[in-house]
C-alpha cells in the first residue's frame, strides 16, 4: 500500500519536473518567435527564426503546433486549427488537442505601441507530450529506485536491530535452561541496560525462591531434629510403663509420659508457628506498622495465654508512633516469644518498651534476672540454640523465631546488660519515615 503511495508521489513529482522543464522550452520558443515579430509598412510581419524550432526539436519525438494572432484575433501565420486563448496574462499555459493528440500550449503576448501600429500580437506554441511523459517516467523511475533501495536498507537495518536487541534474551534463555535444578544463584551476564531490569527482576525472584527453599529445608531439619528426641523418650517411657508391674510406679511413669506429651505438643505448635512466621515474613506484603501497637497486642495475648499470670508486665511507650514497615502478625509473635522467655526464665518485673532511635525502631523486653551469658549471645538467635538444653517443655525455638522475624524485616536481635542491672533483649528494625500518622 505505502509502496503504491510512494509510486504515485514519485510519478506526480516526475510529471511536475518534466512539465516545468518542457514548459521552459515552450516559453523560449514562443519568446524567440515573438521577438521576430516586426512592423513593416504598418503590417505585422513574422520572421520566425530557425532556432525557435530547433529549440522545440529538442523534444525529438514531439509534434509542434504554433500560431501568431494579430490584435483583432486574425491568424497571421501558423496553424489555423488553433484558437487564440482568452487569457489576460502575458504568459498563459493551456492544454488542447491537435490532430488527435493532446498538446501543451503556451500563449505569449507582445504589445506594440508604434506610430504605425498599436496593439497586441499573441504567439501560441504547443507540443505533444511524448518527451514530457518519457521524462516524467524516467524521473519517477529513478526516484522509485532510490526509495526502494532506501526501504530495503531500512528493513535490513530493522531486522538487524531487532536481532541484536533480542540477542541477550537468547543468552538468558540458554543460561537458564542449562542450569542445574538446584542452582538458584543470581545470573551473571553483561546485558544492555534495557534488559538489565529484566535480569535484576529474575535475580530478585530467584533470591526469594532461594530463601523460601532454604527456610523450608531448615524447617524440615529443625522439625526432625527437635521431634526425634522427645518421641524416642516417649517411646522408651511407654515401654517402661508396659513392663512395670507396680501400679504406683506405673502411674508415675504415665504422669511423666503425659508431661512429655504436653511439651511435645507445645514444641510442635512452635515449630508450626515458626514456619508460618518465616513464610509470612517472605510472602505477606509489608505495610506500615506502629511498634507501640505491636507491644500492646503482645502483652494482651501473653496475659491471656499464660496460666496463673501473676507476674506484671510494665509497658513503657512514647507519645509519638514508632513506625516501621513489616508484618504486624510476625512482629507480635516475635515479641510474645521474648515476653514468654522473660517470664519463664527471667526475674520479674518485666518491662516492655518501644522507641525510635534515629534510623532504627526498636522494641525491648527487660527483666531483672541474669539472662543469657554473653558468650551465648552470638548463637542465641540461631535455630538449634536452646539455653536450657533440649528440654521439650522449654521449647528453645523461641529466640530462633525472633531472630528469623528480625532478619526478615532487615533487622536483628540484640542482647544487652543495661547499667541499671538485669537483662534486655531488643528487636531492632529499620524505622519507616513517619510521613503521616495512620493510626493516631
Amino acid at each position: 500500500m505505502s509502496g503504491l503511495a510512494v509510486a504515485f508521489a514519485a510519478l506526480a513529482y516526475g510529471r511536475q519536473a518534466a512539465q516545468q522543464a518542457y514548459d521552459r522550452l515552450l516559453i523560449g520558443a514562443a519568446g524567440q518567435i515573438a521577438g521576430a515579430v516586426s512592423i513593416r509598412d504598418g503590417e505585422v510581419v513574422v520572421d520566425i527564426p530557425a532556432s525557435a524550432f530547433d529549440l522545440l526539436a529538442l523534444a525529438r519525438e514531439d509534434r509542434v503546433v504554433y500560431a501568431v494572432f494579430g490584435p483583432d484575433g486574425t491568424l497571421l501565420t501558423g496553424y489555423d486549427e488553433l484558437q487564440r486563448p482568452e487569457a489576460a496574462e502575458d504568459v498563459a499555459f493551456a492544454h488542447a488537442s491537435f490532430a488527435g493528440e493532446p498538446v501543451r500550449l503556451v500563449a505569449l503576448k507582445r504589445h506594440f505601441a508604434e506610430r504605425a501600429f498599436r496593439g497586441t500580437v499573441t504567439v501560441v506554441v504547443g507540443q505533444t507530450l511524448r518527451a514530457r511523459s518519457e521524462l516524467a517516467w524516467d524521473i519517477a523511475g529513478s526516484a522509485l529506485v532510490v526509495v526502494a533501495v532506501a526501504g530495503l536498507l531500512m528493513v535490513a537495518l530493522v531486522i538487524f536491530a531487532i536481532r541484536s536487541a533480542l540477542l541477550p534474551l537468547r543468552r538468558i534463555e540458554n543460561l537458564l535452561s542449562s542450569r542445574e535444578p538446584q542452582d538458584l544463584t543470581p545470573l551473571r551476564l553483561a546485558v544492555p541496560s534495557e534488559i538489565g531490569h529484566l535480569t535484576a527482576a529474575i535475580n530478585r525472584f530467584m533470591a526469594r525462591i532461594d530463601r523460601q527453599v532454604t527456610a523450608t529445608r531448615g524447617l524440615i531439619a529443625d522439625a526432625s531434629h527437635q521431634l526425634r528426641t522427645p518421641v524416642t523418650a516417649l517411646r522408651a517411657q511407654a515401654e517402661l510403663a508396659a513392663e512395670e508391674n507396680d501400679p504406683e510406679r506405673q502411674r508415675a511413669i504415665v504422669a511423666r509420659i503425659h508431661k512429655r506429651a504436653v511439651g511435645l505438643g507445645r514444641l510442635t505448635d512452635q515449630i508450626l508457628s515458626h514456619a508460618m512466621i518465616i513464610h509470612r515474613a517472605e510472602a505477606v506484603p509489608r505495610e506500615s506498622v506502629d511498634l507501640r501497637l505491636v507491644a500492646m497486642k503482645a502483652v494482651e495475648e501473653t496475659d491471656a495465654g499464660v496460666e496463673g499470670a501473676g507476674a506484671p508486665i510494665r509497658l513503657d511507650l512514647p507519645e509519638e508512633p514508632v513506625l516501621c514497615r513489616g508484618d504486624e502478625f510476625s512482629l507480635v509473635e516475635a515479641v510474645k516469644n521474648l515476653l514468654n522467655n522473660a517470664l519463664k526464665h527471667g526475674r520479674p518485673p518485666v518491662d516492655l518498651s518501644a522507641a525510635n532511635e534515629g534510623e532504627r525502631a526498636l522494641i525491648t523486653v527487660r527483666d531483672t534476672g541474669e539472662g543469657l551469658p554473653p558468650e551465648d549471645w552470638q548463637a542465641a538467635s540461631r535455630r538449634f540454640f536452646d539455653s536450657a538444653g533440649a528440654s521439650p517443655s522449654q521449647a528453645g525455638l523461641g529466640l530462633a523465631i525472633v531472630g528469623a522475624v528480625a532478619k526478615a524485616h532487615g533487622g536483628s536481635l540484640k542482647f544487652a546488660r543495661p547499667p541499671e542491672g538485669g537483662f534486655a533483649a531488643s528487636l531492632v528494625v529499620p524505622a519507616a519515615p513517619a510521613e503521616k500518622s495512620e493510626k493516631a
Binding site: 510581419v45 520572421d47 525529438r60 501565420t77 490532430a99 493528440e101
Partner: protein, 366 residues
C-alpha cells in the same frame, strides 16, 4: 504539361484545410508518370506515390515485387509540391492518399507527419536507423543523396571547373563573364526540393547571400526539375547546374561523358528521401514491409544500383565525398520539426520575395 502554374499549387496547398471544395485546380493534379510492377491485377495491390523518377526506383520496386508472389505495385511519380497537396487534402478528408508516400521534399513530409497524417511502423530495421533518419517511427529516411554541381566538360575548361561555391562566385564575378546567364538551378516556387535546398543553404552559410547575389546579377536561370536541368547542361544550354541531386546527376554522367559531377568542397547537403505510411492506408502491412525491404541488404543494393545510396565500402567515388560519412563538410538534413520553419506562411512569403528579386529573369513557364 508537366507542372502547374504556381498560383494553382499554392491555392491547393493552402486551401486543403477548407471543406472539400470542388475547385477545378485540386481535381487537375495528376502524376507525372505511372508504372506497374509485379503480378497482373487481381491479387494484392500496393499503391506508392513518390517524387522519385520511375527509372531510379525501378530496381528496388522490381526486387520487392519479386519477393511477394501475386503482388502488384502501382507506382505514381509526382512533382513534390503536387504530391504534398494531394496527400494533405486526403489527410484533411481522413482518407489515405496511397499506401506509401516517398518524397525528396522532406520538409513537406515532416509537415504531413506533424499534422498527424502518418501511421507509425516499428521493426528491428527501423530501430537501427540513426535518429536523424527516423522521426516518431512515422517518417523514415531511406536514401542518401547529395546536392551537387554538374558542369559540361566540353564547354568548361578544366582549370575553371568549380570545386566549391566560392569558385562559382569567382567565375561569375568578372563583367561579361562567359558564365553569365548559363548557370541553372531549381525554381524554388515550382520545386519543393529546390525550395528546401535553397532554404537550408540560406541557413547553412553566409555564402548564400553572395552566391544568390552573384547568380542573380549574372542572370542565372531558375528552372524546373533535375532531369530538365541536367539535359540542359549536357546539350550546352547551361554550363553549370547548381544544387541538383547526385542520384540523377551520377546516373546521367555514367552514360554521358559531357557531364561531370562535383560535390562542393565548402559544404555538401545530404538528403534522405523520406517515406511514410498515410493514416488509414489500405495495405499498410505491405507498405511497412516495403520500408523494411528498402532498409534491408537486398533493398540497399537495389538503391545503390541507381545511386540513391552511395556504394558500400570505402572505394566509393571519393570525389563526391561519399566514402567518409563523418566528413565535416557533409550537412545531413535531419528529419525533425526544425524543418517546419521554412514552411511557415510568412517565412516562405519573405523568402520567395527575396528570391524573385534575385531572379528577375527566371523562366516564366506560364
Amino acid at each position: 504539361m508537366r507542372t502547374l502554374p504556381a498560383f494553382l499549387f499554392r491555392a491547393a496547398l493552402f486551401l486543403t484545410a477548407l471543406l472539400a471544395a470542388p475547385q477545378a485546380p485540386a481535381a487537375e493534379l495528376v502524376p507525372e508518370a505511372t508504372a506497374v510492377f509485379g503480378a497482373p491485377a487481381g491479387g494484392e495491390r500496393l499503391l506508392i506515390k513518390s517524387t522519385t523518377d520511375v527509372a531510379a526506383f525501378r530496381p528496388a520496386l522490381e526486387a520487392f515485387a519479386g519477393t511477394v508472389p501475386g503482388l502488384r505495385i502501382d507506382y505514381e511519380q509526382w512533382a513534390s509540391n503536387d504530391l504534398y497537396a494531394v496527400a494533405a487534402k486526403a489527410c484533411a478528408q481522413a482518407r489515405p492518399a496511397a499506401d506509401l508516400l516517398v518524397s525528396s521534399a522532406v520538409d513537406l513530409q515532416v509537415r504531413l507527419v506533424n499534422d498527424g497524417c502518418a501511421r507509425p511502423h516499428r521493426s528491428a530495421l527501423t530501430d537501427r536507423l540513426p535518429e536523424d533518419l527516423n522521426w516518431r517511427s512515422e517518417l523514415f529516411g531511406v536514401t542518401r543523396e547529395l546536392a551537387v554541381m554538374v558542369y559540361n566538360t566540353r564547354l568548361v575548361p578544366p582549370r575553371e571547373a568549380p570545386r566549391s561555391r566560392f569558385d562559382l562566385i569567382d567565375l561569375l564575378r568578372p563583367p561579361g563573364s562567359n558564365y553569365a546567364g548559363r548557370i541553372a538551378t531549381y525554381d524554388i516556387e515550382q520545386s519543393g526540393l529546390g525550395y528546401l535546398f535553397a532554404f537550408v543553404d540560406a541557413q547553412q552559410a553566409t555564402t548564400f547571400g553572395a552566391l544568390s547575389e552573384a547568380l542573380g546579377r549574372s542572370g542565372a536561370v531558375a528552372t524546373c526539375c533535375s532531369a530538365e536541368i541536367i539535359d540542359g547542361v549536357a546539350r550546352g544550354d547551361y554550363l553549370i547546374a547548381y544544387n541538383v541531386l547526385s542520384s540523377y546527376a551520377l546516373a546521367r554522367a555514367e552514360t554521358d561523358e559531357r557531364l561531370a559531377v562535383v560535390a562542393p568542397e565548402d559544404y555538401t547537403l545530404v538528403l534522405s528521401r523520406a517515406a511514410l505510411i498515410p493514416k488509414g492506408a489500405e495495405n499498410a502491412f505491405r507498405a511497412a514491409a516495403f520500408i523494411d525491404f528498402l532498409l534491408s541488404p537486398p533493398g540497399r543494393s537495389a538503391l545503390q544500383a541507381t545511386h540513391l545510396l552511395p556504394p558500400s565500402g570505402a572505394t566509393g567515388d571519393a570525389a563526391l565525398g561519399l566514402s567518409d560519412p563523418d566528413d565535416a563538410t557533409l550537412r545531413p538534413i535531419a528529419l525533425s520539426p526544425s524543418l517546419l520553419v521554412g514552411l511557415d506562411r510568412h517565412k516562405r512569403a519573405q523568402f520567395i520575395r527575396l528570391w524573385r528579386q534575385t531572379f528577375p529573369w527566371r523562366l516564366d513557364r506560364d
